[in-house]
Amino acid sequence: MDNIQLLDAIERYLNNEMTEAERIGFEQLRKSNIEVDQMVVEHSAFLNQLNKYGENKEFHTVLNEVHHDLTSRGLIREVPPKAVIAQLWKKHKRVMAVAASIAGITTMLIAGFAAYYSRRASNAELEQLSKKFENTERKVNALRAQVESDKAVVIDKAPSNTPIKSGGTGFLIDESGYLATNAHVVEGSSVVVLENYKGLEFRARIVHINAENDIAILKIEDADYHTRSPLPYAIKMTGAELGEQLFTLGYPREEIVYNEGYMSAKTGFNGDTLTCQIGVPANPGNSGGPVFNRNGEVIAIINTRQAQAEGVVFAINAKNIINSIEAISADSSNANIVKLPLSSSLKGVDRVQQIRKIQDCVFMVKSY
């Protein structure tokens, strides 16, 4: 209690709130009692400190307000610290270049390994839709050829005594005889024979194989093939919207087969953006077949289906054909050797009519 009264006295003394008599009395006390004197000095310093603290805080608040105010009025502008990177860059240009190249090489190596092994892995999960011919089927084929030979003179263009290794579907991308199909359909084959829906066969040569995109370009090199009128369908580079109606033509059997469905997903297996997922039934033999939208534009090429799942079919986006075409153009002296059809004449035409026009351009691909 004493202490508090003393403090009160000291404060009043320091603030000059004492009456004359009080003040004299207090000064007397200070002189006689050293402890009180010390207390006065100490408290005065303390109050001073507190005061300064208050003023400092106040000033800081004002500064912050001013800063905020000036910023909002646009008189000062806070700059993002972009110079740091530039400076670091300038300083460590050499080191960074070396580091970047090492990182680059490492990344390439890792990516290479990853791609190699993931391809392996995906092969187990994905089923390529090319047909593996067996001898029995070959016999059926021979029988059919015999039957048809009664009607017309059909020359078997397949090399005799060689079993068919695999089969699929291909479609014309240029009326002069260029076709697109899957790389896995024709990979490793020495001879490729095409058969149209009427059963006529044509010899073809593999012009270009892009195993990465799984696209192969074939060229019909056969005297029986005559350059036909312009293709009815177009190749659409921009893909399709989800839910868009789609249809396919292909040769899962010895017969051309029509199927229809819809666009399921814009990416393929494991988020692959080169491919898309379609909800169209597909079977071995459909590989390389064109996927059309309702306007008769090719939006994709069927290539695989997921082995463990029902009805999950993947198709390569049609724009990937361009890469292959460019590669061909680069190889040949004649630039723009392949002209992709860019406009469809099948818009608004009845589906049956569309198929009638398209079916000449879709071939069964048999590789020996």
Binding site: F46, Y53, G54, N56, E58, V66, R77, E78, A83
Partner: protein, 181 residues
């Protein structure tokens, strides 16, 4: 300068808008951010403010040079504290000696930290009560009604109790820290 000493808003704004850009580019060109620039600049403003209030105040150079020198020193110090590497602060080499001010500023900051700590350990309502009286300079009767005391004398009594506690905290804080350091 008189304006600054009087804590005049307009003067502060004028100095602020006139020099902040320069300091900002100094800090940003030397591994700092806009926030760092703001902190450093405001601290330099406080140094200037304290200087302008001291009795023997005389500035032998331009405000600009002064602020620049102070900021440069403060920033170098901060960089070395945070162990961020900076070889040489580049910029205009026109500098004035400011050792004393920087040291005084450090000391002051240290004391303010002590005060801040003591105040924060004091707890409520003591803290608000003391701040109202000593910092905001409110009268005892205002405080009594604001804090719900029956009369100013009661409030005053409470205030002194708080003040005794604050003093104790402050001096113990001061001793331990200075003893350590």
């Amino acid at each position: 300068m008189e304006g600054l000493a009087r804590n005049d808003r307009q003067t502060i704004e004028k100095i602020y808008s006139g020099h902040f850009g320069m300091i900002q580019s100094l800090i940003i060109n030397n591994n700092g951010s806009a926030d760092d620039a703001r902190d450093i600049f405001q601290e330099a403003m406080i140094v200037l403010y304290e200087k302008s209030r001291s009795e023997d105040f005389e500035l032998h150079c331009q405000v600009k040079t002064y602020l620049y020198s102070v900021c440069r020193r403060l920033w170098l110090k901060k960089l070395s504290q945070t162990h961020r590497f900076v070889p040489e602060i580049n910029g205009i080499a026109e500098l004035v000696p400011i050792e004393e001010e920087i040291d005084a500023n450090d000391e002051r900051n240290q004391e303010f930290i002590h005060m801040e700590n003591a105040l924060s350990r004091l707890g409520e309502p003591c803290r608000s009560l003391l701040e109202a009286y000593y910092l905001q300079k409110k009268s005892m009767s205002e405080i009594a009604s604001g804090f719900g005391y029956t009369n100013p004398d009661n409030a005053k009594n409470q205030k002194y109790k708080c003040l005794v506690r604050l003093r104790k905290l402050f001096f113990s804080e001061y001793k331990t820290n200075n003893g350590d350091g």
